[in-house]
């Protein structure tokens, strides 16, 4: 995992921090942690050039587009930045994605008449689906330490996020869960239930064991996907280091 380049000006650090808010929507991890940021330079007149790279040539174009677009938005919002240039390299849809984001054409516009295929809608629904998956996985991340110390289904079914504060489960994962829920319109305040079905309904005591299984499966799915991506990225760009 990259710690990021050592920046010598405040502005460059601000750019790196901004890139750290950009998530891979499938993996729910920052692109800076995933080593997807290959280069990042700031010119004296405030033009920021960011080079991005992905684990494979065929990484899904929709998620790839979201990362490039989100990086563009995040970097553009940094004070002092006059222009953001985001370039995704070594990808089958690099031209469409880079050109489309630079032109602010949206996803549909970026792929208009493209050889790579066609889009019929923007990516809000896709993003929503994957944040919801992260919110489901987050319930395992928060509840697991409680289960491990013996908190049972009766308690878990009535527990609120506020109840979690101050317990072993009061970790960064709690903040992360609240943030994901807010983004998809699920209750995220102190009075919100810790366990929620995907549709926002409450989980009954009887449903708790299977619900926790589902949340864990979701987490295993996302994290396993992440392991493949990290392995393949390392093999693609640093094969000597990756070979074990």
């Amino acid at each position: 995992m990259s710690a990021g380049p050592a920046f010598d000006t405040v502005e460059r650090q601000a750019v790196w921090t901004a890139l750290g808010t950009v998530l891979d929507p499938e993996l729910d991890e920052p692109i800076t942690d995933l080593d997807f940021v290959e280069s990042c330079t700031v010119s004296p007149d405030g033009v920021v050039s960011v080079g991005l790279r992905l684990p494979t040539f065929f990484c899904a174009p929709n998620f790839s587009f979201l990362m490039v677009a989100d990086a563009y938005d995040a970097v553009s919002a940094v004070p002092g930045v006059t222009r953001a240039e985001i370039a995704l390299a070594d990808h089958h849809a690099s031209a469409e994605i880079n050109g489309g984001v630079a032109a602010q054409a949206g996803f549909v516009g970026s792929f208009e008449n493209s050889y790579q295929g066609e889009a019929t809608a923007e990516l809000d629904e896709l993003r929503h689906t994957f944040i919801s998956k992260s919110a489901m996985a987050g319930q395992d991340r928060v509840a697991r330490p409680l289960v491990d110390i013996g908190v049972g289904p009766d308690e878990l079914a009535v527990m609120t996020l506020g109840d979690v504060v101050g317990t072993v489960a009061d970790t960064v994962e709690l903040t992360r869960l609240r943030e994901r829920r807010e983004r998809v319109g699920l209750p995220a305040g102190d009075d919100a239930p810790l366990l929620l079905h995907a549709d926002g309904s409450r989980v009954t005591t009887e449903q708790v064991p299977l619900h926790l299984r589902r949340a864990r499966l979701q987490r295993v799915g996302i994290e396993t996907n992440g392991e493949y991506c990290k392995s393949l990225l390392a093999l693609r760009y640093a094969p000597e280091a990756a070979a074990r």
Binding site: F57, F58, V108, A121, T224, N225, R244
Partner: protein, 339 residues
Amino acid sequence: MYEKDGEKYFIVDSHSHFWDASKENWVKGAEQYAKGWIDCFYGYHQLGPPETHWDWEKFLKVTPEDFERDMFVEGHVDYAVFQSTYLREWYAEGFNTVAQNAQTLEKWGEKLIVNGRFDPRDGQKGLDEFDADMAKYHHKGIKLYTAEWNGDSRGFKLTDPECYRFLQHAQDAGVKNVHVHKGPTIWPLDKDAFDVADVDHAATDFQDLNFIVEHVGLPRIEDFCFMAVQEPNVYAGLSVVVGGLMHARPKFFAKVMGELLFWVGEDKMLFGGDYNIWTPKWQVEGLVDWQMPDEDQFSDYPRLTTASKKKILGLNAARLYDIPVPAELQLQDEAVAQA
């Protein structure tokens, strides 16, 4: 057959290829896609143990002699199911066609099952091609790659009306098993190409077909498991799970196996070695030696017994493909029941 500690395992590799990704076969003007595709595979190849790695040139195309050694001589495989993947937009003669596979049939016909394929976007011509293949090879199984490019199209769904027509046709012609592989590019691009909801619908509407979801729906294993738990005719193809995780990411291998054992169950999991991304030898031997770790985080996952390993490594697939299993390689109670 693989023997370890006095136990004998009948091995069916339910997902293998005999491909031609050599540069001579790259379509002019589409070289970057042909290269991108096989480079992707080569990345996965390197997730296996270092001593099994090949150089890139060799990986592009193996010889029949390589195949025989890797599968049947060293690989312990009793039967292999060959899947077809055409990709004619990128590979001039196809990446891995039925005809290519069938060449190997001449030599090892008694150990190979060659699966067919169709592409619903080919219309009547595709049906005719399918019928011709069926007449020649009597396929029991087919492989569908939903993300394959075809003319202007960038993929299809099993629930497309035209695909339903093909599935019905295949079922009427005697096909029993449908291997489904999801891939990254599909129309429209704004949808999740890995969504397995269409397999769910097709499995409900075609009860007499078995649907084997390759790579267990990775990277959407959760969607796959939620579906498979509800559909009696949906199976988990373990290709890429064993090859990609068992060596490179053992903890995640244990978690994925644990989830599959819980949601899908050991009777519906099929070993697939995914030759020649990987060779079967280390995968078969590793799986026989493998056990769920003792750590707490794995404590509520089901355990694999010797009998479950026998099922996963061969007996489950033998059942789907009506492969005769010698009595001494069957599970004891089944052998007794048949006697």
